[in-house]
């Protein structure tokens, strides 16, 4: 079993700044077998802080990808950072997270933290507090005790890690309701509530909910850079999209079996394909106007299939939307919107493309240009991979 690991973050810069002192970097190994991410908060805000944080985060990414011990790397980073002349400190906090062996059913994870609020680990709807190894740094001239915390973990499906900069914990500082800021305890409670209400909330949505709340507490003028990153380990969400009838009828059964036996969500895009499925499986197919907006043909309902849509026009529209990077919040209220939602909520999408030429579309008098199925699907696949980092598979039938 190989898990899918969502990693995402959300960020607001300090009000009035166009550049941030919080930097988040993420890299994935080519084989998708390793993920490294770093969240760094540079001293102060603006350009100087950004340089500090960027330096830190980039070094951290490099070291964590090498075979050097994570704690050792953190020390090297600390000793390399330029020293602030006024305060005699080189200062940039960080949280480095490295996840490996993604192909097994446990994800080996190392986390090294320096002076950021501690990471949170959520498992089964509650916080878990793994043991942290403290490592004292003895840098000459350090203005205070410097401690690195190192944690080794094995993560499993459903686990979430959330980490953030102090712009979150200190949000609202000095305001009447929160003179001491939001504080870690409240942040934890807020996140727990979020996950309780929406157990499937994505890494991105969780991080954005936290930053949005923090910014609201700062009365919509962030007093510091606000950044929250979140990791969500889960079983991959799979989707099959079947479009177009097979090249000859002898393959109809195979097509139907491939859809029926697929472990995941299912879309049939195309009336003829849907009718083949309906006939062989003996399932009723009913056109429904509930999401009809006059712009695209309506969807149909069929038991066992999450969405039955028309083919070419809808797919063409889907390709256009994906190419302009539409997000989950902007989806139109029509069949394309429902289709896009299923695509964007999936990690792996399998396209099963029938190669029979549909004679209706060959008529030269149809007054619009209809790309052939293959090329539309090609565009969708490219956009899903490049703009949304989805995994795709393509099979012709």
């Amino acid at each position: 079993m190989s898990y899918f690991i969502e990693v995402d973050y959300s960020q607001y810069f300090k009000d009035g700044q166009s550049i941030g002192g919080d930097v988040f970097l993420l890299s994935r190994g080519e084989e998708r077998d390793r993920i490294i991410c770093t969240l760094s908060d540079g001293l102060g805000s603006g350009v100087k802080a950004n340089v500090l944080a960027n330096l830190t985060a980039h070094m951290a990414q490099k070291y964590a990808a090498s075979s050097i011990d994570m704690v050792k790397s953190a020390e090297i980073i600390m000793n390399t950072l330029p020293v602030c002349r006024e305060r005699k400190i080189s200062y940039s906090t960080f949280t480095i997270l490295r996840m490996e062996n993604l192909k097994e059913d446990k994800v080996r994870t190392s986390i090294v933290e320096y002076d950021n609020p501690g990471f949170l680990l959520l498992r089964g709807g509650a916080y878990v507090h793994p043991e942290k190894q403290r490592q004292e740094l003895k840098r000459p001239g350090a203005f205070k005790d410097e401690n690195l915390f190192h944690t080794e973990l094995e993560l499993e499906a459903g686990d979430r890690i959330v980490f953030f900069t102090d712009g979150i914990t200190q949000a609202g500082l000095g305001t009447k309701p929160l003179p001491l800021g939001w504080r870690e305890g409240n942040v934890k409670e807020y996140i727990l509530d979020l996950v309780e209400n929406r157990p499937d909330i994505s890494a991105y949505e969780l991080a954005s909910a936290v930053t949005a709340k923090a910014r609201a507490l700062d009365i919509y003028k962030a007093k510091d850079d606000i950044t929250c990153a979140s990791v969500y380990i889960r079983k991959p969400r799979r989707l099959i999209v079947s479009t177009g009838p097979p090249i000859d009828e002898s393959r109809d059964e195979r097509l139907v079996a491939a859809i029926r036996d697929f472990d995941g969500r299912k879309v049939i895009a195309g009336g003829t394909t849907a009718q083949i499925y309906s006939r062989i499986e003996g399932k009723k197919l009913q056109v429904s106007l509930s999401d009809f907006d006059g712009d695209l043909p309506p969807c149909a309902a069929m038991a066992g299939i999450d969405l039955v849509s028309e083919g070419m026009l809808t797919l063409n529209r889907i390709a256009e939307h994906l190419e302009t990077r539409i997000s989950l919040h902007e989806l139109p209220h029509n069949s394309a919107g429902r289709f896009l939602k299923l695509l964007l909520e999936s990690d792996r999408v399998r396209f099963l493309v029938g190669t029979k030429i549909n004679d209706a579309h060959q008529d030269p008098s149809i007054p619009f240009e209809i790309g052939i199925r293959r090329s539309i699907i090609g565009r969708i696949i490219k956009a899903l991979e490049e703009n949304y980092l989805k995994e795709t598979e393509l099979e012709f039938i």
Binding site: Q275, P297, H361, I366
Partner: protein, 88 residues
């Protein structure tokens, strides 16, 4: 009294040729016959493949196929079906 069923194809070819607009035909029907008509969207029945005899959009009124359908043709067919049923 059984309703007159107006089936409107929402398949690709018919939709491109304007069947989407026909789905709201009920609103264009005279008030006195609106209640006797039921519009049902349906999937492509394959007729669109034969443009000479069944140019899209394809609509069927009480079982009778209308090729190259538009509002006028549908209303006419509905009226004819109603008369056939001795309604008016």
């Amino acid at each position: 009294m059984e309703k007159i069923i107006v089936e409107i194809c929402t398949g690709t070819a018919c939709f491109v040729m304007g069947s989407g607009k026909l789905l709201s035909i009920e609103e264009s029907l005279p008030a006195n016959i609106r209640d006797y008509v039921e519009v049902q969207p349906v999937l492509c029945c394959g007729l669109c493949r034969d443009w000479t005899n069944s140019k899209p959009p394809v609509v069927s009124v009480a079982g009778k196929m209308i090729a190259g359908a538009d509002e006028e043709k549908i209303i006419k067919a509905v009226m004819a079906a109603l008369e056939g049923g001795n309604l008016c």
